[in-house]
Amino acid sequence: MATDVHRLAAQIAPGSSVAIPVDYAGVSMAFTRALIEIGTRDLTLICVPTGGMQADMLIGAGQVRAIETSAVSLGEAGGAPRFNAAVKEGSIALRDATCPAIHAGLLAAQKGVPFMPMRGLIGSDLLRNRPDWTVIDNPTSDTPDPIVLIPAIHPDVAIFHAPMADREGNVWIGRRRELAAMAYAARRTFVTVERMSETRLLDDEKMAAGTLPGLYVTDVAVAENGAWPYGLWGAYPVDQAEMARYARAARSDDGFADYIAARAAEVVS
């Protein structure tokens, strides 16, 4: 099945913008490992709305040119070492955001509009450092009312991991609707799943309510435990020991390289 994930990852062109989900929503770490083995470069990561080990590893592997995010951290395992080092070195372009701004940008793409208005932000250094965010005077107000416009975010690709998909490419995402939001906004969406469903997900009204239609799904591959060491809701918890092991290793360039090499060796053996 590792081959299948590679088939997906091989479809990501260098220079792509890639939307990836928050820790707990269904992170495709299987896809991350495949991207690192392939070595796809110059990626722009769009964290929906925050990033973790997936972003940190791709940054550590030197494959990330820019990142738009509201935060990057390893959660209980601490800060994101490769992200923090890259920021210090100035080796990645930063587009610091706040969570709902990323959701707003994706929503604009979902709705086919060039921008979404958003409250907040005014007076922050986030806004000061985002020339792509525009402040206008609310045209629907009789009194002066500054408001920020967030331009649409159109990721080239969205990538995530979910419990299951069916043969039509419909994917069960449950209440993790940010995954749907990513797919609506993205040009192409690649999904890894724990397993394939033999029944059509849309035929059961209960399942249908939590299903992303195949219309938005470019390709699916099975990757058991594909979120590991992250957890998958309803399936398995975070492997905190592995997260901590990574956090320690990734403090240095060499430690990070060793960690990646060791993981690659495990896959081969």
Binding site: A25, E76, V87, D125, L126
Partner: protein, 260 residues
């Protein structure tokens, strides 16, 4: 039941203080890695239930059990924008005199060193949630600075800016402050037991208003403390097992000291 209880630990006083700050709220959201605020919210809910008042809704982000949202991670922000979230908690690597918060890092942006995770939802929630409770247990001049290096989200806004929300209180390991929007600054409300004004002044890198002889943060009454050590402790143990164990150990230590 009340006679044989050991006195409230400092952490328990913090939790009870949080519960008090949520008085009158209908719905509170708590960040994933915020056990003291979560415990305070759980205590407020338990107290509410014991008096028969309308229930307090709590959403702990990232938790599956204590999260009633069903529309993905955007729903908290939507609900806040709708005015349905009465209180939220924010921390900060730096918090300054005017209530500005820095969650991004030190030094010249973008090449911050150290770099912290980032602003999360602060650049929005601080503007729209009526009671934002700033919670940072470490009370030191490196946290409480005169001016933050990076404004993730500002304490106040210019007149004419849409800003129904903002700082409501600042709770640290040493003291409780409230925030004066007009004066754009904090005012010491009470010192926690065993802390002094001089100590807090020294530990705070910015000027703040205070009474000449500040009040002491009140501890919980026996019934509240009992609720905290029973129902709330059980709820906590589910979501924050490590924190609950630590809290329990603290109580036992106090207990041993008390009996020595």
């Amino acid at each position: 039941m009340t006679q044989d209880m050991t006195p409230a630990t400092p952490r328990e006083i913090l939790i009870c203080t949080v519960a008090g700050l949520l008085d009158g709220c209908r719905c509170v959201a708590v960040g994933a890695a915020s056990p003291v605020p979560a415990a305070g919210a759980m205590l407020a809910r338990a107290l509410r239930d014991s008096t028969g008042e309308p229930p307090l809704r709590i959403s702990i982000l990232g938790s599956e059990a204590h999260n009633f949202f069903t529309n993905g991670s955007v729903e908290l922000f939507d609900a806040a924008g709708q005015g349905r979230i009465d209180a939220f908690f924010l921390g900060g690597g730096q918090i300054d005199r005017q209530g500005n918060i820095n969650l991004v890092g030190l030094g010249d942006y973008p090449r911050s060193a150290p770099r912290w995770p980032g602003s999360f939802g602060s650049g929005y929630l601080y503007y729209v949630v009526p009671r934002v409770i700033l919670y940072r247990e470490e009370h030191s001049p490196r946290v409480f600075v005169d001016k933050v290096d990076f404004i993730s989200t500002p304490g106040t806004s210019e007149p004419g800016t849409y800003r129904p929300g903002g700082p409501y209180a600042l709770l640290t390991g040493k003291a409780l402050f409230d925030f004066n929007k007009d004066k754009r600054g904090f005012r010491l409300k009470s010192l926690h037991p065993d802390h002094t004004l001089a100590e807090v002044t020294e530990a705070t890198g910015f000027a703040f208003d205070h009474d000449p002889d500040p009040a002491t943060t009140p501890g919980p009454d026996a019934a509240t403390l009992h609720l905290l050590r029973t129902r709330v402790m059980d709820e906590l143990a589910e979501t924050y097992p490590a924190f609950a164990a630590e809290l329990r150990a603290g109580i036992e230590t106090t207990d041993r000291k008390a009996t020595v």
